[in-house]
Symmetry: C2
């Protein structure tokens, strides 16, 4: 399938400048990004008039638990411990592999409708996450979610399964990849963390984990190990190849310096951190210190949406509150995080910008709507005034997966019906 | 025009329960809300199949400066004082009445596309605000924006104009009303505030003003008058008939008690307060203390959208952070604020709920989208997962003003073009 997008604005994300021109694709790859071309003999399967609207890289969601859409609005407005232990865990215990498949497909619809084409997904039954990604066209980087205790059986099964997944999911399908990861320090024995570090060394790979999401987590880690989660990761060798932390809300100056010197990614989740009352990550300070920053939504049980527009808005305006400075965390920095930062954080080096040879993972933003007018500054409009209703097309791997409210490659009504049926069965199980 | 909405869910906002049924309108009034009716001989101009989606009262935006859309994304990410004195004020000085008219029309499109049909608008040239409201079908409550100094000329002109507006705009058109108000303590001499209190007494009317938006404002008010803005208002008699304050970020316990005992409305603007680094209003505490709460967007120069979904989300999740409690400020309380609270705060007692005899100001929310699935809890879905893309129809005064991305009664393209031309002329003026 060869596509031509013309008569529009382009934000390549190589820089944050908007330029006029056109974009061509062939299969899953971008073949041309640049000035308008005069009429040529090149044949396309479809030529899309952008009507002055903006084409840019699609959003990459750098931390999520896609299938958790099944708990959206199931239990909110309650204290964190009740939410987790009385609502989330008992429901998760009942999940089947087939549930993961159908709920991940539902999440894919939500991603596409909001201009997102890739996610860094950490959840149960990775085979079913991968299959949902392949069947929907969602580029999925699966993050290992090892957890386990002190005994040898835990150690052996956690490590051998992690290595098995690493080898199984990398290279098997162009849409799917796998990164070494574990749930968090507080669910993983130090012997397993050390084993993961050895595996990372064997494959020269980065490691990812939840890190410093709550004060309690940091306090208890210090109690167990005499140091913060970030310091423990560095000491254990888990940051040798970069990697990253999800949340990073309660970071000390020393934690920031550790992440900086290791080139590790801070993957922020501002909506979830607010809604669960976890706190506000010091992103503006991290940015000043030169840390690498990316954005994710976390799961829909705690967010409750998978919406990168809302995530970007909060990633900026919460910093203005935190720093007591309206100039903190400007729009272009946040948009760069959501496009380029998030792609690179999850290892999608081919999906970070629009350029010939990069993957055709793109979204078209409607500028011809009341909230985008007048057009003083397109980037600020997207971050500060934009929302999902501005997404008029999403292209994943060269395939149009969303266009004007429709999902041309998927049966959305069937996915809604299947998801609701699966939820009902799960509750009654 | 008689409309019938059937085969759908209804949230009347009399309570926050969702029920199945239908809604009828005749002219600008609701004639029936209740269970499904069996086939009758009643004739409608249009029968609208809700397909299981939700009809509810439209949002009421209880604090805005509509025409400020002209500064959307013009100057962001800069310190507050630079933003105000170097960017906003010099541009506002160049506004013509015709500018106000066209920019307010642009704002009306944005309100309608997000399910909002009424606003409490405070800006220059109220005749032109009113005309834009009438011409677009936007229910507009104009708030007096008196400011002025010590001399008799200021006093006379401010007070006589305020009374003239009060009498001119109330009763002249069903879409337009006027409330007594002044910009803020920091722009208004105490003699003028006292004159406004006398006017309020004469007409037995509430008074509205910006109140305690920034720490600086409160500190300087205490310096001038020895008390906070809220205490000063009460002492001056400005709260005798209720009224309200816009923002109310830096409220003391005593300020809250003053507002509570006077039945005054706290009209919160969480997005603007974040983006300008003003702070987080203590809404959860205010709610516990029994204060009356409403929500507005403030102007698009500081927000940068006029989007009640984002406003509701922040009104809830920021409280969870502030209170360090994930159960603070639940979804149903916030939705009630945005529908019923905001309507009542601005005096629209006929537009607060769906019931026979109330105004036909309504919006239809698409539940058949990925972010609204599965359907555990519709109210939580709207507040925590909803966004403008879920608005599929907006009805203002019985007229369909927005439907599936289109504005059937307005020429949106012409409004965009006019607004951009006006901005260009203004910058070059």
């Amino acid at each position: 399938m060869k596509l031509r997008f013309y008569n529009g604005n382009i934000l390549t994300a190589e820089d944050m400048t908007v330029r006029w021109g056109e974009v061509h694709t062939d299969g899953d790859t971008i073949t041309y990004v640049g000035e308008e071309k005069s009429r040529s003999d090149e044949k396309f399967d479809r030529e899309i008039d952008l009507n002055g609207n903006l084409i840019m890289p699609s959003f990459k969601n750098a931390h999520t638990h896609s299938a958790m859409v099944f708990l959206r609005s199931y239990a909110d407005d309650m204290p964190l411990q009740d939410w987790l232990f009385k609502q989330v865990f008992p429901m998760e215990d009942k999940l089947t592999p087939e549930d993961i498949y159908i709920f991940t497909k539902l999440a894919a619809l939500e991603y596409f409708s909001g201009g997102t084409t890739a996610c860094f997904d950490m959840y149960f039954y990775p085979e079913y996450i991968a299959q949902a990604g392949i069947d929907t066209g969602l580029r999925t980087v699966i993050c290992g979610s090892v957890s386990g205790g002190d005994n040898k059986a835990d150690y052996d099964s956690a490590l051998s399964r992690l290595e098995e997944y690493y080898n199984k999911f990398n290279g098997a399908d162009p849409l799917i990849s796998f990164k070494i990861g574990f749930h968090a320090e507080y669910t993983t024995h130090i012997s397993i963390m050390k084993g993961i570090a050895e595996l990372a060394e064997k494959y020269k790979q980065p490691v990812y984990t939840h890190n410093s999401e709550t004060e309690k987590e940091v306090r208890e880690c210090i109690g167990r190990h005499g140091k913060t989660p970030a310091a423990l990761m560095e000491e254990t060798g888990l940051l040798k190849y970069g990697g990253g932390g999800f949340h990073c809300v309660h970071f000390t100056d020393e934690d920031m310096e550790i992440f900086r010197r290791n080139g590790a990614w801070v993957i922020t989740n501002p909506c979830s951190n607010c809604k669960l009352a976890s706190g506000i990550a010091p992103l503006a300070e991290m940015r000043k210190k030169g840390l690498r920053l990316a954005i994710g939504t976390d799961g829909a049980a705690s967010n409750n949406a998978l919406d990168m527009f809302r995530e970007m808005y909060l990633a900026s305006v919460l910093q203005k509150i935190l720093e007591n400075d309206a100039s903190a965390m400007p729009a272009d920095a946040v948009l760069e995080m959501a496009l380029k930062g998030s792609a690179l954080a999850m290892g999608l080096t081919g999906c970070d910008t629009l350029a010939a040879g990069k993957k055709a993972d793109m979204t078209v933003i409607d500028l011809n709507t009341p909230n985008m007018q007048p057009l003083h500054n397109t980037v600020k409009n997207i971050v500060f005034a934009g929302n999902k209703s501005n997404v008029i097309m999403t292209v994943s791997g060269g395939v149009i997966v969303y266009e004007n409210g429709q999902f041309p490659t998927l049966d959305a009504e069937k996915i809604y019906a299947d998801a609701n049926a699966a939820v009902k069965a799960l509750i009654n199980r």
